[in-house]
């Protein structure tokens, strides 16, 4: 770099390029980079590379993007320090995925109306065996597609199990408590001040409760039709056993159904859902937009104590990049992202849809959700 007329300009240019590619950079790191250029030999490409990498990269996954951009930037900075502004980043190669045309063209008949109103029939006979389990008799491995309404009690048991798991966790942190197991010396000393140094009144503390929140996003689009009725039962059971659940249903748009699920009886909950769904649903699934709108619309739902559960088969008619960026953003904020895919119960299923491909790198857990046993296993992922 011979023409280092304005290092600040060059550095900010580089920083902006990184940001364009999704690497989080700050003004602070630009300032550090300028300072670093003064501390090292700015004509030594290797040193500048190593210094910038140390400053701008904040996680391993960003290293590859950085490497590519640095080469580009160095070359342009050498040639004409300012001409580089115009050259935008080249397109990143996409992983091999299924073309959009391969997706099932389901009509608009999707969603909650059908989902809720078909509650009384058992459609086990006319369904196409997509993910046929080997044994239909054992309840635990019975595919949800073959479920009738009377299986609700089994679901409730599983929900209770999950909730027990969520509730029984205690944090390692201490908090004041009237009847704690341990003494709290700091407060005892303060209290002893009043009694001339005799610790007469004792203060106690105990381990804080770990408050896990559940946020559930349930896909109710056409391709999920076979499953969503039973997933709804799971959600209902969960909501009733556990107070800190927020539930959303989505196809092309999102509806918060927490309040509907909180009704006294399952039937009332279904009626409430039907009225919610009267507002109209259209065909297709926009998973990315849905996740993003929950993220943007209810930002305070997501923190380290949150487990985000997405129930979907991953057929996304929206832009998979939106899903990827929404999930990668959430990944940094929530404790767990769990994607439950009913199709995963089929041994020959491979998550090749574009939506699934975009989502996979950001998930903590990718698990099946086609039978009760898979939900029981879910409980294990919820203690974090």
């Amino acid at each position: 770099m011979t023409a280092l007329a304005d290092p600040a300009l060059l550095v900010t240019n580089f920083s902006r390029r990184l940001r364009d590619r999704g690497v989080a950079t700050t003004t602070g790191s630009s300032i550090d980079a300028v300072r670093a250029l003064a501390a090292i030999d700015p004509t030594d490409k290797r040193d500048v590379y190593l210094a910038f990498r140390t400053i701008f990269v904040q996680r391993r996954n960003d290293l590859a993007i950085f490497d590519g951009l640095f080469e580009e930037w160095w070359a342009s900075a050498q040639a004409a320090p300012l001409a580089s502004r115009t050259s935008a980043g080249s397109a990143t190669p996409n992983p091999p995925v299924i073309a959009p045309g391969d997706e099932p063209k389901r009509g608009s008949a999707t969603a909650l109306t059908r989902w809720a109103s078909s509650r009384d029939d058992t459609d086990g006979d006319e369904t196409i065996p997509l993910a046929a389990p080997s044994t239909h008799d054992a309840t635990a491995t019975k595919d949800f597609r073959y479920y009738g309404s009377d299986d609700l009690s089994a679901l409730e048991q599983v929900a209770a199990l999950i909730v027990k798991r969520l509730r029984s966790r205690r944090s390692r942190r201490w908090r004041q408590a009237r009847r704690g197991a341990r003494l709290d010396p700091r407060r005892i000393v303060r209290l002893a001040l009043a009694t001339g140094g005799d610790p007469i009144r004792l203060a106690r503390r105990q381990r804080a409760l770990r408050r896990t929140k559940l946020v559930v996003l349930c896909d109710v689009s056409g391709s999920m039709d076979l499953y969503s009725r039973f997933l709804l039962q799971v959600l209902y059971a969960l909501q009733h056993a556990f107070a800190r659940v927020e539930t959303f249903a989505f196809s092309t748009r999102v509806v918060r159904i927490t309040d509907s699920l909180e009704r006294e009886s399952y039937r009332e909950a279904l009626q409430a859902l039907e009225s919610v769904s009267d507002t109209g649903w259209s065909g297709g699934t926009k998973i990315g937009e849905s996740v993003e709108s929950v993220r943007a619309g209810w930002p305070r739902l997501f923190d380290r104590r949150t487990a985000l559960i997405i129930l979907s088969d991953g057929w996304d008619t929206g832009d998979p990049a939106v899903l990827g960026s929404a999930l990668s953003n959430l990944r940094r904020r929530v404790g767990r992202i769990i994607w439950l895919n009913p199709l995963l119960g089929n041994p020959s299923y491979e998550p090749l849809t574009r939506g699934m491909q975009a989502a996979l790198p950001h998930l903590h857990v990718f698990a099946p959700a086609h039978d009760l046993a898979s939900f029981e296993r879910l409980a294990a992922h919820l203690s974090f």
Binding site: Q58, R59, V189
Partner: protein, 298 residues
């Protein structure tokens, strides 16, 4: 080519830490820019060692804070000396001080017990502060660290803010068992350390285990390099290579053959399934073939 970085790299080597220019550059920048250095990488590649070596290079004290879940201010920063406080209240009983005065007295510096963070900040010269395995602590503690990392100061409610007279050189390590917060990452320089190349690993073995035969050092490193290419439950780090080299020297082994491998494999692999897997490999191809595989580039 910057002389200072090269000198630092040499100084680290003199402390027995064989490293590359990337690591030396990161350490150099951490010191010149006065920013904490966050080091990530697989277990056993010498992340913690960086801090120890820097303390050696700077000829200063290493203050170490091992993180764990539930780590809080009273173990990381400071604690009040409760017995001393109680005694003091008792002794001062007749002195006619008001409660306010007595309170101010017992919550003052002489009653403070220093924990690592406070010690690093109050030291009378620059220290190296190692915050080890930060990913094991919880989110709350991470937030609590931010003040120390960016301002080099800590706040004790009863006393006030304690500023560092000599800003400590801070090294954080993480095994990436959980994602660290954006806020923490933003305040740090970042270094990713991977497993060393074959040449580097041979160099490390010879530096750390001087008694080892040159040829044996090469075979040990090559064998471990070959093992790392397998899909293992627990991939051996440099620490395991060194353990193994030490063991082989202690056993007077001259070369790596099938018998020595099967006797000492426990130094390299720490999981029963991994050991079975590599044993089978050695049994079918012979230890020499595994070494040869490690010597050839992938």
């Amino acid at each position: 080519m910057n002389e200072a970085i090269a000198r630092l790299q040499q100084a680290m080597a003199a402390q027995g830490y064989i490293t590359d220019r990337a690591t030396a550059t990161a350490a150099y920048l951490a010191m010149t820019l006065h920013k904490p250095l966050l080091v990530e990488g697989p277990p056993g590649v010498g992340k913690t060692e960086i801090a120890k070596v820097l303390a050696g290079v700077l000829d200063t004290e290493l203050v170490r804070l091992q993180c764990y879940e539930g780590l809080d201010a009273s173990t990381a920063l400071y604690e009040w000396n409760y017995p001393k406080q109680l005694l003091h209240i008792k002794l001062g009983e007749g002195a006619g001080q008001s409660i306010g005065e007595r309170e101010a007295q017992i919550f003052s510096e002489p009653f403070l017990l220093e924990r690592p963070l406070l010690r690093a900040i109050r030291a009378s010269r620059q220290t190296v502060l190692l915050i080890d395995e930060i990913d094991r602590s919880d989110e709350e503690f991470e937030a609590f660290l931010l003040e120390v990392l960016s301002e080099h100061q800590v706040t004790i409610p009863e006393i006030g803010t304690v500023r560092a007279t000599y800003e400590p050189c801070v090294v954080l390590t993480s095994n990436r068992t959980r994602e660290l917060s954006e806020a923490l990452r933003r305040r740090c320089l970042y270094l990713w350390i991977d497993y060393p190349s074959l040449e580097k690993e041979i160099e490390i073995v010879r530096a750390k285990v001087p008694a080892i035969d040159t040829k044996l050092a090469a075979s040990v490193a090559a064998f471990v390099q070959a093992v790392r290419r397998h899909r293992l439950i627990k991939t051996p780090g440099v620490a395991e290579t060194l353990d193994w080299a030490h063991a082989l020297v202690a056993l007077d082994a001259r070369a790596i053959d099938d018998d020595t491998v099967s006797e000492t494999l426990g130094c390299v692999l720490k999981d029963e399934a991994d050991i079975r897997h590599v044993r089978a490999e050695v049994a079918s191809r012979g230890a020499a073939a595994v070494v040869a595989a490690g010597e050839s580039a992938e």
